[in-house]
Amino acid sequence: MNRIGLVILSIVCLVWTQPTLAKLEIVITEGVNTARPIAIVPFKYNGTATLPLNLAEIVAADLMRSGKFNPIKQEDMPQLPQTDGEVDYSSWVSTGVEAILVGTIEDDTLDRFTVNFELIDVLRGQITGGKVQALKDGRLIETKDHIMFERKVIIATSQFRFYGHRISDIVYEQLTGERGAFLTKVAYITIEYEDLYPYKLVVADYDGANEIELVKSPEPLMSPSWSPDGKKLAYVTFENNRSQVYVQDIYTGKRELVTSYEGINGAPKWSPDGQSLAMVLSKDGNPELYLLQLSNKTLTRLTNHRAIDTEPSWAPDGKSIVFSSERGGNAQLYSVNLATKRVKRLTFDGDMNLGGSITPDGKHLVMVNRTRGNYHIAKTELESGNFQVLTKTRLDESPSVAPNGSMIIYSTMHGSGQVLALVSIDGRFKARLPASKGQVKSPAWSPFLN
């Protein structure tokens, strides 16, 4: 009865290896000139140890890659202040920056450092000169309302990269009002055909650092999908000459076979509540959407049509699922309401639309659009129906939206190889993550991890 309930703790294909074999490095291709100027002043270190990396560089790179900010070069800074008191506001006017991040690093104990940083509102500082008196409880007190954020932390040597991203998150949220996604990860598949194990499931920081190969296989690996807690990945394997869906704990390596039906076992997508997987099975004749309850492995069939139904993607509220279907002729995007099972067509633009997903704010539908034979990433504003093609690259596929909705990571062609690329949700900022070797595909952006 429970023929799929086999729990396999397999370590055969499971390999933990050294990081950075094919390190991704982000190359910005378009859109920096439209970003907001900001100054990330190098943090002064008043000690004797060798710092593991440059915190301000990490922050500046993060903010630039967000597509929203353009950190000015150090040589363009009129001064290198370490605290708000040292800022000469008039000298910063010509730079056009709206905010300055300053900081210091001091020795704490062995291998531990004290980091102080302040985010300064330049416009406010220019008005008040950095000092304001205000009435509080009937008394005049001094305030520093030009300081948007300040903090003092103690971090270990091994935490520098992490904390750099943390500072980026803070700066981004202070200046945009939306949560930063710099402490997230991306899962993707790499292929090096000449390798003994050509197919690899890899997880890296969103910027390509700390790349770890979680699974290596002689047969294809596909469709990684993050659990909402960011601790597990569901993915498809062909290691037994058939497609099977596995769930793997990325921290313990524990691996569980969840479906191995006749035909397709594909496109798993974790529900927002983490309780079930939406997936595609063709066990009943042709590809249909199913819901697999993870606790007891119960299956619920969601679609019933002789045309291809595939690529499920959860609406952020978990109440409906977007999918691709050929029921109208060419593939278009539809959604199925989980309570009523009613199906609604969502897209009408171009020859076909595939790989749809709704942005975290529920406002946009992101997809792969084919128009006149060209595959590009596009989005439709759900309320107005406004349609916009976002990319100009070739053979674009597998768009995955950052958890804060600011960016889309997708796979595309660069030269003769498949690489990952980024495009901002407004289509203005574009960047490429070229791999040093092999093909890179099927990116999946993690949820918030902190």
């Binding site: 055909y193 197919y199 294809p220 596909m222 469709s223 062909f238 000459n241 058939r242 497609s243 035909g263 397709i264 594909g266 496109a267 595609v280 063709s282 042709n286 590809p287 291809i308 595939t310 690529e311 691709s324 593939a331 595939l354 790989g355 792969v368 084919r370 595959y375 070739r394 053979l395 596929e397 597998s398 062609m413 003769s416 498949q418 595909k441 099927s442």
Partner: protein, 188 residues
Amino acid sequence: MQFSAITKGLLIAIPALVLTACGATSDSSAGKSQTTNAEAEQAQTEGMDTQTGTVDTVQVDTLEVAKTPEEIQQEKYDTLRQQQTVYFDYDTASVDGEYMELLQAHADYLTKNPAAKVMIEGHCDERGTPEYNIALGERRAKAIVQYLQSLGVSASQMTTVSYGEEKPIDLSRTDAGFSKNRRAVLVY
């Protein structure tokens, strides 16, 4: 259905093939035994020649035993079966008429060897999304299964797997490369 047209095609094609096949040499078992006898005779003749020390005055040739139409068909099938790949047009899973005879050859083998099993892999070119291509690849593999079933092959002898766009043969991403990747492969 296209079957009547296909059958008609075969009715014309097979006799024509019989005629052309007769002219060619072959190494089927019947042909081989004939050749062996002839060689023995020739050796005897040559032996006599060396004994007498005379120059060859006699030359011996042989006739091939005429093959039955069944034998000829079998030879053709054996050759055809070496080819295990069927190619498809863009975004379709319909089996082109040019592969009917190839599939007939595989069906012949599978029906005569009920214990034989075949795995049919469906593949796609790299256009479209990986998930869509998995579905399309399965449709291609199943199109082959259905055709073989219509020729009498038992469903229990066949399994399918779709690799979508994950195992391309040609990585060039050109039209020529794409056409090599859109395929179904019969793996014994």
